[in-house]
Amino acid sequence: MTVEVTDADLIARARAGDDRAYGMLVARHQTVAFRTAYVITGQAADAEDAAQEAFIKARAAMGRFREGAPFRPWLLTIVANEARNRRRAAGRRLALAGRAAAAETRAPGPLPEAEALASDDRRDLVAAIARLAPDHREVIALRFLLDLSEAECAAALHCRPGTVKSRLSRALAKLRVELEGAHA
């Protein structure tokens, strides 16, 4: 018989000082944390740092975590904050290095390599997403490519679920225009 260990079980054990339990929470959520950070930073190394530091901060703040609340949105809020800090720092570094223009055009991931996609249809779609404004690209990547719920997107984007809905709606409309433009 398999007994499923829930996040709530692991959180309770981690709060009691069980390192192994927190390690299991990290293993369970590290992929979504890393990918969310990657959507925001567009750099794997920055995303790794952001996700790692977010888990460390989440562990230190475990005492403030509201019992019974879902862990993932709470974690993603911390991950997204760390990722944004790194994106800002990277922008400043580039500017200091006299490459402000490069910072402007730095396109966050995670878009699949267009060359690797078999169909023209998907290549067009990837290219159209890449042309969107960063906040539209982010909401589409989080909602569709990462399959986050609206609540999780709201946590990562630091806004209300209603704002996710409206931003997503505008992003999809823009994406349709981009696709139609490409076929015109």
């Binding site: 927190y22 944390a33 890393f34 794997a44 790692q52 888990f55 562990r59 720092a89 998907r122 399959d147």
Partner: protein, 247 residues
């Protein structure tokens, strides 16, 4: 055109993400800073007070600590330009790197696995003090002997703290600091003049009260560790060695 949302869901199946790193070890290795023992706190305060005496006009990098960190992109290392070595600075000796022991014993004492440079293979000897492991390689072609240390290359590894500066580099006049990239991560190459270092452990419980002079040094961070590679070898060769230092 099929429904756009359906096309996006289908696209998700094709998305090529960078491999997810295993974060467990690095996260669990981090410990919240513990209060420093009283005596060591005094040493820490004295060391920091000495740094505060450095004239502000002599600082070549932005003076705010965060700006310095961000410029270099290193989270656990600070680099400050100062006009002259602080009082008590002396040449680093091999004994300063700790006791000689096996790699396994060093890892047990330090509480983490050392990363070995594949370009060099196993070290000739290992020294450890507190949570710091130094891999020492004998001089060889391309890695001439370091001043005052009978080694051609020293790779020192420490666990990176998060909240506390871990390694403070003091660079003096004429020293060159270059930002480099190692495996996609930022690092700093310090050469061409004198520079010294002192360590501050994550809990503030280990402090070198006399900064030690070091040779040309490459510093970077990887897998939750701060790595310091010291050698008189050519920068290109040192970067190649650094890039081969992987888990």
């Amino acid at each position: 055109m099929p429904d756009l949302e359906a096309r996006l869901h289908a696209l998700a199946a094709d998305a090529v993400w960078p491999p997810t790193p295993d974060l467990q070890a690095a996260v669990l290795a981090h410990r919240a800073p513990a209060p420093a023992p009283r005596r060591m706190r005094r040493v820490l305060v004295a060391a920091l007070a000495a740094l505060l005496l450095i004239p502000a006009g002599a600082v070549a990098f932005p003076s705010a600590r965060d700006d310095v960190l961000e410029w270099l992109g290193l989270r656990h290392v600070t680099v400050k330009r100062v006009p002259a070595p602080p009082p008590g600075t002396r040449q680093e000796l091999e004994d300063d790197l700790g006791d000689v022991m096996s790699l396994a014993a060093a890892e047990k004492q330090a509480g983490f696995k050392a990363l070995l440079p594949r370009a060099l293979g196993p070290p000739d000897r290992v020294r450890t003090v507190a949570q710091r492991i130094s891999l020492i390689y004998a001089p060889r072609p391309g890695l001439p002997k370091l001043k005052a240390v009978g080694a051609g290359l020293i790779l020192t590894e420490t666990r990176g703290g998060i909240e506390t500066a871990y390694l403070q580099k003091l660079v003096f006049g004429g020293t060159d600091v270059k930002r480099v990239e190692i495996g996609g991560r930022p690092g700093a190459f310090i050469s061409g003049g004198q520079h010294a270092y002192l360590y501050v452990a994550p809990g503030g419980d280990v402090v070198e009260d006399h900064p030690l002079l070091a040779g040309p040094t490459l510093i970077w961070e990887r897998s939750g560790r701060v790595l310091r590679l010291e050698s008189n070898g050519e920068r290109r060769k040192l970067l190649q060695i650094a890039r081969s230092t992987v888990p």
